[in-house]
Symmetry: C2
C-alpha cells in the first residue's frame, strides 16, 4: 500500500490511511505551534517506511539502523530505551510491568537518529520494536546455532519497528529532527507546545485526608504557618463532595462555607485544588442532565458521561465554573481515568458518540484535562493539576501524571522516560519508614514537576520526622531558590517544545560506548535468552536547561553516577567531579543533599533571600536566558513576557 | 439477542452465535467422553444468561449470586479465586501479574454454584468478573459516600460476569454440575477426559545442559546410577539438533550415534525426551517443504509453519516419526509457544490458513501438542512431555505447562489454580542457594505432575548438596511409594474428569466463613480502594483422591495450614492434627518432610520395597479404588484395565 506523506511543517509530514474520524490532536482541541514554521527543514525519511493492510490492522514498518535505538511508546517505569519490546498500548494503571498498559500509552516513538512516528489515533496501537522480522527478510539474516555457535544471539540484524493499528482509518505523523531532542521538540510543538504552570504551581502542595472537614483543613493550613513551611496549594480529596465514588461535584455539608474558606486561604497565598473522578452519582446536581449522554456501563456505580460529546463538555464546564472556579478554586486532580482496568467500564461498553469503552478510556484523561483546562483558559487564568491518565496531544495541558505506587526506582525512571512523549510524571511523598527515607523522597520531589505531599489517606506532614524537620525545610528552600530556573524550563517547553525533564540520551545522544557482545550471560531464570543488557540510564535525568540529578535511594549510601563527556561540577559545592565524563561511585551520608551536577559552562540563576544570584560552573563560556511573565495569565501568548540574558 | 441452548450431554448445552469456523475443541481433534452420557441431568441455568452484540464484540452476561465465587479464566499464579478481575486473555509468558496473559489463557470460568461457561474459540476473549455494572442495574445499586459513609465499598451487589468475544462467530458451551468439582469434571470430559501418563512418566526426570554432547549425556546417566537415583527420563535441550533457535529437528553431529545411545538408555529404563520450539531453520530437512505453509513473520529468525493446516501437521508428524519416534524417543518438550510476547510473531502476522498471529498464538501450543501426541497415539504408545502454552481442549494431551520463573509461591499457586481449566502445571528445580532450599523444592516436585530437575543451563544434580543427598533420595522414594496413588489419580482424570491437582475449594466448597466487611483496610499504596481481602487459599492444594499438601517454603520454618471441616491426620506419622477443621500454625525443621495430610476415612495405597501397603486414617469407613493397566499403551481405551477395591 502506498500512502502520500504531506509536509505540514518543516520536519513534519502527515500520512493518512482511510478516513480517520477521531484523532488525538483533534480531541485535544489544540493546534500546532507557529514556532514550527521557524525550524529548519529536514529530509523526509519516507523511503524507510512501508505500509500494509494485514487483516483488520493497518501496519507501518520502518527499518532501523544497526545501532539506532528507540524511545517513547508511552510512560515507562522500568526502562528508558525500549529495545526489543512489544507494547500493546492501552490506558491502564501501571501494574509493575512495562507492557504498554500505562497511564500515558502515547503512540509516539522516536529514534536516536531523530525520526519520530506518531499514530494520531485513539484506537488500539501495538508497537513491535526491533522485533518483527518478516519472511522476506530471511535472506538478510544470518542463522547461528544456539548450542554450538558463540555468534548466536537472541536478536539479529536487520532491525525494524512495526506499528499495527487495529483500524483501517489512521493518521500517521512523521517527524524528522536534527537529533533526538529536536525531534521530540517538533512533536511537542506539533501538539501545541508544552504548558507553562502558574508560578504558584511550583510551590509546596499538600493534599489532605479525604475524611477531613472545613475545620480540619483550616487546621492543616495553620500548622503549615506555624512550622514555617510555605504552603502554596492545599488539595481536597473526595470528601469535599456531597458524595464520591461516584462523585457529585457538589460541595459537601462538611464544607458549609467553602467560598469563605477559599477566599481566606487565598489571602495567605494558598490555593485550593479539588479531587474528582469521571463517575457521576445519582445525587449530583448534573446527573439528570448527563444521564442521556452516558455510556452503557457504570463505573464506581456512577454514570460515565461521554466526554467526546461537546454538549457533555459544556454541561461539565458550566457546573465547574459556577461551583468551583467562581469561588476561587485553582484547579483539579483528575483521578481514576486510568483504571487498574477492573475499575473502569469494559472495552465493549457503548457510548452515545459511537465510541466503545476501549476508545473512551484512551481519551478519558485527555478530555477530562481539556474540560477543566478550558474553564481556566477562557478566563485567562492559569491552572495546575494532576491527572492519572493522558494520551498523545496533551502536552499543552497543565496536568502531571501520578499513580498509587510508591517504588522509588520507578518514580525516578518515570521522570527519565516521560519527556519522550510529551508527558510529565509526578512522584509524590505519602509516608516513610525512616527519617532518611522521608528526606530522600522529599529531595526527589524538590526537583520534580510538582512538590506534592499526598496525605489523602493518612495525616503525614513535612515535619512528621522532627529530627529532620530542618532538613526538609532546606529541601523546600532549594526548590524555591530554583524557581526561576524551573519556570524558564517550562517556558522552553512551551515556546521551543523542549521537555523540562529529559533522559540523558536526549541531551547527549547515545554517548555510551555500547560494546555489544553477541549474546549476554545465560541465567536460567533471570536471563534465559541471554539478552545483552543494554546501557540504559534510568536512574538519573536532566531537568531544566542543564542540571543533572542522580537521586539517592532511601536506604542507600552510595550510587553509581554516569557523566556524559566533558567536565561536570557538583551543583552544591561547585567542585569539579570529572574531567571528561565517565562513571563515578558516589558515597554520601544519610542527610547529604540531592546529588545535582552542572556541566562546564553552565549558568544557573538561583533565588536567595529574594534576590537573584547567578552561579557559573567551569570555564567554558555560557549564559542563561531567563524567562519571566506575570506568572498567572495567558498574556504571554500575546507577547507579554521577557527573556533576559544572564551571565556570570 | 436470543440464542438457543442445545443440550448435547447431561449438564452440557451448546449455544452458537453466527457461524464459528474454528473452535478450540475442533482444533484439538478430541471428542467428548462417552462417560458424559452416564452423568445425572442438571437444570440449565440459561435464564441467568443474556447475550448482546456490542460493536465488534459478542457479549455474554450472567448474574451471580451474592456469595457466588468465580474460578478459572486460565492458569493463575497469584490467586485462586478470581474475584473482581478483568482478564484480557492471550497466550503469553506469565510476567508476574495475573492479567489474562498466561501460558494457558483457557476461556473457561466456573462458579462456586457449579455453573461453567466455555468460550470455544481461539479469538480474543475478555473476562469481566464481578465487575461490569450496566446502566440498567443502577436502580438495584445502593450508592454510598466514600468519605462519610462506612457502608461504602469498592464492590457492590448485584454481581455479574461479562464475557466479551471479539468476533461475531462464537460457540459458547454451558456446563451445570452438581457442584464446582462436578462442573469442572464435565468440562474435562467434554474436552475428551484427562490423559493417563505412561508409568515411567511419573519417575525422575533430568534435563541436561543444552551444550552437552552424546558422551556428556551418557556420563550424566552413569552418575545417576552411581548415586542410586532411579532416573526415568533424560531430556535433551536445544543442542541435540544440528541447529536451534531456529530449530532443524535434525540430529546434531554432537550426537553421532543417537539411536544407539537411546537404545542403551532404554535397557536401563531411561527414556529420552527432546526439546523443540516451533521456529524452523533454513538448515532443517523439512524447511523447504514447510516454507510455503509458513506465516508472514519469522520467529527466532526461522519460519513458523501454520499448524492449522493438516498438511503441515502431516509433514511434521512424518519427520518426527522417522527421525525420533522410530529410534526410541519417548516424547517432547514444546518450548516458546507462549512468547514473552516479544519473541513471537506479531498479532497482525498472516498465516496461509487465514488466521492471524493472535489466533495462531492462541492455538500454537495446543496444535504442537496434538501433532506430537498423535504420532504416539497412532502407534499405541503413550508419551509424556512439557509444553509452555496450551488452551482449552487440551485436557487429553499428556503435556505439563512450565515456565522460566522460579518463585516458590507462584509454583504452588499454579498447582492450586491449574485444575479449574483442564491444565496441569509443573514446578521444576534448577538450583538453590542453600541445601534447605534444595530440599524444599524437591519436596514440592515429589508431589507435582512431573518430578523434573531442569539443568538445561547449568550442571545441577540431585546430589549437588552432599549434606542432603540422602534426604533428596528419600523424597524421590516418597514419590515412588505414592506411584499407585498418583496413577489412579490420573485414571480418574481420564475416566471421570476429576483433576489430579485441585484447589481445596473444589473438594470442600466455600467452607471458609467469609464474614465480609463493607470495605477493607485503607492503605494508600497497598490497598487504596479498601478492597476486602477474600479468604483465598493459594498455598495448599489437594492431589489425588484425598491428600492435602501444604508445602514449606524455602527459608520458612513455620506456616499456617487451613483444614476443611472434619478430622485431619498427618500422612507421615498418622497423628491426628485437628478434630474438626480449622487453622493451625505448623512449625518444622529445615529437613522436615513435606507436610501432607489425609482426612478421616482416607485409604491410601503405598508401595514399599515393591509391595503394596495400605494406610488408613481415622475411624470413618473408607476405601480406595486402585486403578491399573499396562502402563504404556492405549489399550485401556478398549477396556484393558482394572479397578481394585482396597480396604485397610
Amino acid at each position: 500500500m502506498m500512502i502520500e506523506w504531506k509536509k505540514s511543517y518543516p520536519g513534519v509530514w502527515n500520512g493518512t490511511v482511510g478516513t480517520p474520524e477521531l484523532t488525538l490532536t483533534g480531541v485535544s482541541g489544540k493546534r500546532p505551534s507557529d514556532r514550527l514554521n521557524q525550524l529548519p527543514e529536514t529530509a523526509c525519511p519516507e523511503h524507510k517506511i512501508q505500509f500494509d493492510t494485514m487483516g483488520k490492522y493497518t501496519v507501518l514498518r520502518m527499518e532501523l539502523d544497526h545501532e539506532e535505538r528507540v524511545f517513547g511508546g508511552g510512560l515507562l517505569f522500568k526502562q528508558v530505551i525500549t529495545e526489543n519490546q512489544v507494547y500493546h498500548l492501552r490506558v491502564d494503571h501501571y501494574a509493575g510491568v512495562d507492557s504498554g498498559r500505562t497511564h500515558a500509552p502515547v503512540p509516539f516513538v522516536v529514534t536516536s537518529n531523530g525520526i519520530g512516528i506518531f499514530c494520531n489515533t485513539p484506537e488500539q496501537v501495538d508497537l513491535y520494536i526491533r522485533t518483527a522480522h518478516r519472511k522476506e527478510d530471511k535472506a538478510k539474516i544470518c542463522e547461528h546455532d544456539r548450542a554450538g555457535d558463540k555468534d548466536w544471539s537472541c536478536y539479529n540484524a536487520p532491525y525494524y519497528i512495526e506499528i499495527a493499528v487495529a483500524s483501517p482509518n489512521v493518521e500517521f505523523i512523521l517527524f524528522s529532527g536534527e537529533n533526538l531532542k529536536d525531534c521530540v521538540a517538533r512533536f511537542n510543538l506539533y501538539c501545541g507546545g508544552g504548558f507553562i504552570p502558574p508560578k504558584w504551581g511550583l510551590g509546596l502542595w499538600h493534599r489532605t485526608n479525604m475524611t477531613m472537614d472545613e475545620n480540619d483543613v483550616q487546621s492543616v493550613v495553620e500548622e503549615y504557618k506555624k512550622h514555617h513551611f510555605p504552603l502554596s496549594v492545599i488539595g481536597l480529596e473526595p470528601g469535599w463532595q456531597s458524595g464520591s465514588y461516584p462523585c457529585t461535584y457538589d460541595w459537601s455539608a462538611r464544607f458549609p462555607n467553602a467560598e469563605r474558606m477559599i477566599r481566606n486561604f487565598l489571602k495567605d497565598g494558598v490555593r485550593v485544588n479539588l479531587w474528582e473522578n469521571p463517575c457521576i452519582s445519582e445525587k449530583s446536581s448534573v446527573y439528570e442532565k448527563l444521564y442521556p449522554y452516558s455510556g452503557s456501563h457504570l463505573q464506581w456505580c456512577g454514570i460515565v458521561p461521554d466526554y467526546n460529546i461537546p454538549e457533555v463538555r459544556n454541561i461539565l464546564k458550566e457546573h465547574h465554573r459556577k461551583s468551583h472556579f467562581s469561588i476561587g478554586v485553582s484547579g483539579y486532580k483528575l483521578d481514576e481515568s486510568d483504571g487498574y482496568d477492573k475499575w473502569l467500564c469494559p472495552d465493549h461498553a457503548e457510548f452515545p458518540s459511537g465510541i466503545n469503552g476501549f476508545v473512551f478510556r484512551n481519551l478519558c484523561g485527555l478530555l477530562f484535562q481539556r474540560i477543566t483546562f478550558e474553564i481556566y483558559r477562557e478566563n485567562n487564568q492559569r491552572t495546575y493539576g494532576l491527572t492519572r491518565s493522558t494520551n498523545g496531544g496533551s502536552v499543552g495541558f497543565p496536568y502531571i501524571i501520578y499513580n498509587d505506587r510508591y517504588d522509588f526506582k520507578e518514580f525516578v525512571t518515570g521522570l527519565c522516560s516521560c519527556g519522550f512523549t510529551g508527558t510529565l510524571w509526578c512522584p509524590e511523598v505519602r509516608g516513610a519508614q525512616t527519617a532518611q527515607e522521608w528526606v530522600r523522597r522529599f529531595q526527589l520531589l524538590a526537583i520534580s514537576p510538582m512538590l506534592l505531599l499526598n496525605a489523602w489517606a493518612n495525616d503525614a506532614t513535612p515535619w512528621m520526622f522532627p529530627e529532620v524537620e530542618n532538613t526538609i525545610r532546606e529541601i523546600v528552600q532549594l526548590r524555591e531558590s530554583l524557581q526561576p530556573y524551573f519556570y524558564t524550563a517550562f517556558a522552553k517547553y512551551h515556546f521551543e517544545g523542549i521537555p523540562p525533564y529529559r533522559s540523558l540520551f536526549m541531551d547527549y545522544g547515545m554517548f555510551l560506548a555500547e560494546n555489544r557482545q553477541h549474546s549476554g550471560d545465560l541465567d536460567d531464570t533471570a536471563n534465559p535468552y541471554q539478552e545483552v543488557q543494554s546501557s540504559d540510564i534510568k536512574d538519573q535525568f536532566m531537568f531544566g536547561d542543564c542540571l543533572m540529578a542522580a537521586p539517592l535511594e532511601p536506604g542507600e549510601n552510595s550510587r553509581k553516577v554516569i557523566f556524559p563527556p566533558g567536565k561536570w561540577f557538583d551543583f552544591h559545592t561547585g567542585k569539579q567531579i570529572v574531567e571528561n565524563g565517565g562513571v563515578i561511585e558516589l558515597t554520601c551520608d544519610d542527610l547529604s543533599p540531592m546529588p545535582l551536577f552542572a556541566p562546564d559552562g553552565a549558568v544557573i540563576p538561583v533565588k536567595e533571600n529574594g534576590a537573584l544570584h547567578v552561579r557559573k560552573f567551569g570555564n567554558l563560556p555560557g549564559k542563561f536566558m531567563l524567562y519571566d511573565d506575570d506568572g498567572e495569565t495567558f498574556d504571554y501568548e500575546s507577547g507579554k513576557y521577557s527573556w533576559k540574558e544572564i551571565e556570570a
